[in-house]
């Protein structure tokens, strides 16, 4: 019994020694041999365990990054919610910059601070005051047109009366100067918002819907040429001596956040052409947009005309009426051509045989300009 136990102990010790020696041998292996052994084990029977560990570590990384990712997603969501607002603001500022470059001098940029009170839809606080050069009755404009007029001035801010104010009036006219009137606010209803009335337009002057109305420059407050609105329709009033038109305002005061206050000295120079260039630019943009359609349409028309000309010339050669002739023209019997009356030519005219008979150039010929070689 004791011998068996001793034998077992000896066997255990031998195995232990073998394992220890093998472990030390593995420890003593050079790295050039150590790596292939470890790699071989990882790629063979340890591959499932390695895969488990990789997935667990990825899961841990995901857990650790979850808060940061959530915060990032929240930030992006907030940013995307503000993107539309920023785009609108960017657009307004671009327009304002464009207006500033056209006005060039004599203006004060300001922020319009809207209140939330009952009367605040007719007045606004501006972030520039007398220190910046603002004075009472200074016009307030936006890239779209007329906004209001400064009525109170503090050193650092000012108070402006918007065109929606019941006391606001501005002398207006059509750009061609054929119609003049006085523009004032027109409340369309309890919830309908504001439009503009153009009152006192002479009967002889009619305005079509869509016509632009600008400030006339009379009165000394507003320079000439600032857009006020466009004609919607004529409205009937009790005044029998003049017409009254309803205008769609150029500027919606609730959407105005950045404005320009014109200095008094700038008024003398006028603002004519400032908005005209804007209109021209818009028209040019529209032309560019539709130019593709126009080009295609004109090309098709030219091709059809050429085709028709060929067919007509063939028909004419065959003695048939040209296809381009109208039915009404064909229905009428051709009248006999009058016999030409020969009159003696005046003595100071050229001889008949010197005049080219085919004086009308053929459409397929190119006139030769003097000095141009073909």
């Amino acid at each position: 019994m004791a011998r068996a136990i001793r034998s077992n102990n000896r066997f255990d010790l031998i195995i232990l020694s073998v394992c220890v020696v093998l472990a030390l041998a593995a420890r003593a292996l050079p790295s050039t041999m150590r790596d292939p052994v470890a790699t071989g084990m990882r790629r063979s029977f340890l591959a499932p365990l390695v895969m488990l560990q990789e997935r667990s570590e990825k899961g841990r990384q995901s857990l650790l990054a979850a808060d940061a990712k959530q915060a990032h997603v929240d930030s992006l969501s907030l940013a995307s919610m503000r993107a539309g607002e920023l785009e609108g603001e960017n657009d307004r500022l671009r327009k304002l910059i464009g207006l500033g470059s056209r006005v060039r001098t004599g203006f004060i940029p300001a922020e319009a601070l809207h209140g939330r009170g009952i009367r605040d839809e007719t007045t606004v606080i501006l972030s520039a005051g007398s220190r910046a050069g603002v004075s009472r009755l200074s016009p307030v404009i936006a890239p779209e047109g007329l906004v209001g007029v400064v009525d109170q001035v503090d050193p650092t801010m000012s108070h402006a009366m918007l065109w929606t104010h019941p006391d606001f009036r501005v002398s207006a006219m059509s750009p061609d100067g054929t119609a003049f009137g006085i523009a004032q606010a027109h409340l369309t209803g309890a919830t309908g918002g504001y439009l503009i009335e153009l009152r006192g337009v002479p009967f002889r002057a009619t305005l079509k819907p869509g016509a632009l109305i600008v400030s006339s420059g009379w009165g000394g407050v507003w320079p000439r040429g600032i857009p006020i609105g466009t004609v919607l329709q004529e409205i009937k009033t009790s005044e029998g001596w003049a017409r009254t038109y309803l205008l769609r305002p150029a500027v919606n005061p609730s959407d105005v956040y950045s404005v320009m206050i014109l200095r008094r000295e700038r008024l003398a120079k006028g603002l004519e052409g400032v908005w005209q260039s804007v209109a021209q630019a818009d028209a040019a943009a529209q032309r560019i947009v539709v130019s593709g359609d126009s080009a295609a349409r004109s090309a098709a028309l030219a091709e059809a005309a050429a085709h028709r000309a060929v067919v007509d010339s063939m028909a004419r050669a065959n003695g048939a009426p040209p296809l381009g002739a109208t039915d009404s023209a064909r229905a009428v019997a051709p009248a006999p051509r009058p016999v030409p009356v020969r009159r003696p030519p005046p003595a100071d005219t050229a001889r008949r045989d010197t005049v080219r008979r085919d004086s009308v150039p053929r459409p397929d010929t190119i006139p030769i300009r003097p000095g141009v070689e073909r």
């Binding site: 077992n8 066997f11 255990d12 031998i14 195995i15 232990l16 394992c19 220890v20 093998l22 472990a23 030390l24 041998a25 593995a26 420890r27 003593a28 292996l29 790295s31 150590r34 790596d35 052994v37 470890a38 790699t39 084990m41 990882r42 340890l46 365990l49 390695v50 488990l52 560990q53 997935r55 667990s56 570590e57 899961g59 841990r60 857990l63």
Partner: protein
């Protein structure tokens, strides 16, 4: 140990090994628990010292394969721990959770001591800090987790009378 007990022990052993490669990296603690040492200790008390040494050697090689620079260090430490656990099972193999916790603690600490000394990667103050601070902490965590798993897996690990 009969066949049923052997199968249950093998299943427990495999569960510990799988936990070592799933739960441990998922938690990522600075003083991590060592399920391989727990698996080795639980297996060692059920087999002869020679078998425990072989099991330890194989487990050590497995752990070393993921750290090729330390190849052999884990094998050496696990061999020693397995052999010692099996040799001392008469002392420690008792149905006492506190004794088992101490057993796990000691096994993990001894493993760390042998491992870090054999690995020769850390030296000086860092080695002392590792062996006297982080290794005991890791051993304590391992012991706590080991006791918890013993409690949970008691039906699976309970020795049966052959």
């Amino acid at each position: 140990m009969n066949v049923g007990g052997a199968i249950r022990a093998i299943i427990s052993f495999l569960i510990f090994v799988v936990l070592h490669y799933t739960l441990r990296p998922l938690l990522g603690w600075r003083a991590p628990m060592d399920f391989l040492v727990l698996a080795l200790l639980l297996a060692s008390v059920r087999v002869r010292p020679a078998s425990a040494a072989v099991i330890g050697f194989i487990l050590g090689l497995i752990s070393d394969s993921l750290a090729p620079d330390a190849l052999g260090a884990g094998a050496l430490a696990m061999t020693a721990v397995g052999f010692g656990a099996s040799y001392l099972k008469a002392v420690f193999f008792a149905d006492n959770l506190v004794l088992n916790a101490f057993f796990f603690f000691l096994g993990k600490w001894v493993f760390d001591i042998i491992y870090f000394v054999a690995e020769q990667r850390v030296h000086g103050v860092e080695l002392v800090q590792q062996l006297l601070l982080w290794s005991p902490l890791s051993a304590a965590v391992t012991a706590a987790v080991g006791v918890l798993l013993l409690f949970i897996m008691r039906p699976l690990l309970e020795p049966t009378n052959a």
